[in-house]
Structure formats: C-alpha cells, structure tokens
Symmetry: C2
Subunit: 99 residues, 2 copies
Amino acid sequence: MAIDEVFKAMADPTRRRILRMLSKGELTAGQMALEFDISGPSMSHHFNVLKHADMIRGRRDGQQIIYSLNTTVVQDAMTLFLDVFAKDETQEAPHEDSN
Amino acid sequence: MAIDEVFKAMADPTRRRILRMLSKGELTAGQMALEFDISGPSMSHHFNVLKHADMIRGRRDGQQIIYSLNTTVVQDAMTLFLDVFAKDETQEAPHEDSN
DNA sequence: GGTATATTTAGATGATTGGCTAATTATCTT
DNA sequence: AAGATAATTAGCCAATCATCTAAATATACC
C-alpha cells in the first residue's frame, strides 16, 4: 500500500463515499453508480484510483464487477494516518519518498 | 474543521511532513523551510492550506511566524478518518461537536 | 450469431494544484 | 530613516485531476 496513493485516494469526497458504502458490504459497480450523479466512466475512474491504492478489490461475477473493501485497509490506513502525527523520533519519515 | 479541507491538506507529502515536524513541537516558518527543497513562497502556500484546514496555527514573534499543530487536530482528524470506514448508517459530515 | 447489459478504456476539456520569481508587508537594528 | 531579515501575497505556468462522450470489451440471453 503506497502511502501517497492512499492519501490521494482519500482526498476526494466521492471516493470516501465509495469506501463508506463498501464498508457496509460488497456492492457492484452499477449499484454504487446509482447513488451518484456522475457518469459510469467517472465512477470507473474512482474505482481505479481506489484499486491502485489497494484499498478496494474487484472481482467479476457474470456481467458485473463486485467491489469490496480490502480487509486490511482500515488498520493499515490508520497506521499511515497516525504516523503523520507521530511524536516518536524514530519514525520521522516512515518510508515515504517525499519530494 | 472542514472535512474536505483536512483530507485535501493531508494529500500532499510536503504538508504531511510539515505536520510531522510540528507534532514534535513548535517551529518557525524559516526553520521548517530549511528542511525542504522548495522556495519560501511555496512553503508559505502549504502553511496556508494547513491553516485553512485549521490543522496548524501561526503566531508572530518579532520577525518570525511560529507555527504549531492545532492541539485538537489529531483527535478530530482521526474521527474523520474512522468515519470513512464507519459501518453505521451516518453519511459524510458527522460534525465535530464531541470532546 | 446478434443484441442487450455492465463496465472499462480512450481521448478531450476545464478546474485545481504546486511550483516558481518578483513585489510587498512587517519587524528589527543601526 | 535606511537597510537587513522573515515571511507573505500576487501573478504566472506546467502538471495533475475529475469529469464528460464515444468506443471497446466482456458476458448473458435468445
């Protein structure tokens, strides 16, 4: 899980809403798309960003793609988040290639 | 603390590094700028983004501006973060009335 | 095979972002 | 008051981003 990609993924409200929906259970791309005002391709783009951050997984079931939250994501993301505020000198820059 | 601004603020690695530095204690704009390869004005821009998200505070001391982490930010930001993965029915914008 | 449905990929576009230099503001020192 | 130092604001530009429409891919059903 790439730090920068996780934070970037979470920077968009649509993607946070997708994560929130998936935290309640699996959903198909279409089911989620129904809840948003944006086009299918735009939804697909967001799924891709989240997938690339390894925050969600998609598997095909017939014509549909079923998306689910990566089960380890909550713990891992929380760790990344805490590290930003870490007072511990030993983990100053966890392993983030800052500019 | 505006949800979207907090997440956007944290989306940039430079800003996360600033937060990490400030989590160890107050620093002046100049002290922080020394640690980065970017120009002063660019640093100032990042301070501004963090200030607008109410994550840091700046006070003048003579010629310098001393920045510090908003002391409530860790708790609040963590709540926002957890809410993204909340399994309960509440939607975005739970609001920060707790403490 | 042919058509409908679900979703993604490709390519374009306007908005936002993060960086820069130059100019400005604020403060300190002499 | 003039000059030095610290930081910000103003204005510009290239890269990234979120969105769209059109086209492509994958699967299901007749």
